[in-house]
Amino acid sequence: MWGFIWVIIGSILYGISYVSSEVIWCVGPLPDIYSYLDGLTGDIVSAMLVASIQAITYAIVIFFVVTVVLGRTKDYVRTFRNWRISKWFFLGMLFGGPMAVFGSTMAVGFIGGAFSSAFALLEAIVAVALSHYAYKEKVSKKTIWAVLLLIFGGMLVTDPYTLYENIVNPGSSNVWLGYLGGLMAAVGWGVETTFDGRALEISEPGVGTAVRYTQEIFIWAIIFLPLTALIIGWDNFAPLFCDFYSNGDIWFWAFSIGMTFGVGDAMFYKGIPIMGAGRALSMSSLYAPISFIFLYLFLGSEISIWLVIGMIICVVGTFIMFWEREDIQDSIKNWED
């Protein structure tokens, strides 16, 4: 009963977080991005800045909400230093952070929050495929059906008609970056889930998640942002960077993403041991319809009928996949020899 409540609250918070991540594109220097950098470069650099500030606020929120509240600060330092364990989070982070968060940021920025949240549901396909081929976890017939449903739903989410229009007639906007971002998010999160799933067999979620987001801050601060600065030139990069990071509105919305998404994550982890990972995952896929409702309520986003139908099919697919697995195998993972 409590597990159910935690996971529901968690997915409501996930859903709300898409509102803040859409609003962040309308504050600070971001609407006038083209006055700093032209065209494509401007789009990509702005998505990178948003993704990096999200990593910072997630790490802070998760560290204080989960690690400190559970009294596991010492474990945090120990896990961080222990490369044998933290390398698995590091690998997951590479896919989950620079690839998935960056990708979903691009999808939100160039197409919209609703598209981004619905398309990310496809991560389940990647997670199933990878755990089957790389780790030899058994895949049941039901799972395969669910994957087919997810692919079909995913095609509807991308709105085939508009996608076709966009490809044939690209126009001036860089909308294809949004589709690319959606794809990066689905693949990245799918791979991350698989790695983290393995890493969590030998380490604690409350500590591991905080470690993972801290590593992400480092990778943005040490590798990706300086690299961007080098490529586009420091003189082009610095003014945008300073305006972005010194803007109060940006920090406010980044923190509200951190609070909703990060606390949602914590609730979700609390629910998993009580109700089982499979059931928790299928419950949490409800975040997509919830995000649609909130995007509509707060921002009045228009939501196409394709998106709704596709999303419903994806949620049903996720339910079939995990609910069945739980019932038949009694939550015990099966391994092929």
């Binding site: 474990d75 120990r78 044998r84 067999e201 030998i202 939550s331 993972k333 391994w335």
Partner: protein, 89 residues
């Protein structure tokens, strides 16, 4: 902490209270701490994951975890050993 606990099983069979107490000693954590229950939970989790298997069970008269429950002796499985070597090697 969790990794240390599971590594204890690498080359021996242990009762869950033995392993958990070894873990608490190693990290200088008090025996009344909630971590003792967490350790017991991690071992159950590992056995459900297929890392450990149950060798023997006996009745807990209240001197280990709580009265009227079962204490369990675990052994690492072949899959678990592969996994430990691969993940933590």
């Amino acid at each position: 902490m969790k990794a240390y606990l599971i590594l204890l099983y690498k080359d021996q069979e242990l009762w869950n209270y033995e392993a958990v107490d070894m873990m608490l000693d190693h990290y200088n954590v008090s025996k009344d701490s909630l971590d003792r229950w967490l350790g017991r939970f991690w071992l159950m989790e590992a056995s459900v994951n297929g890392l450990l298997e149950i060798v023997e069970e006996k009745y807990d008269d209240g001197s280990y975890f709580k009265e009227d429950s079962v204490v369990t002796k675990y052994r690492v499985t072949k899959h678990g050993l592969d996994d430990i070597n691969y993940m933590l090697g």
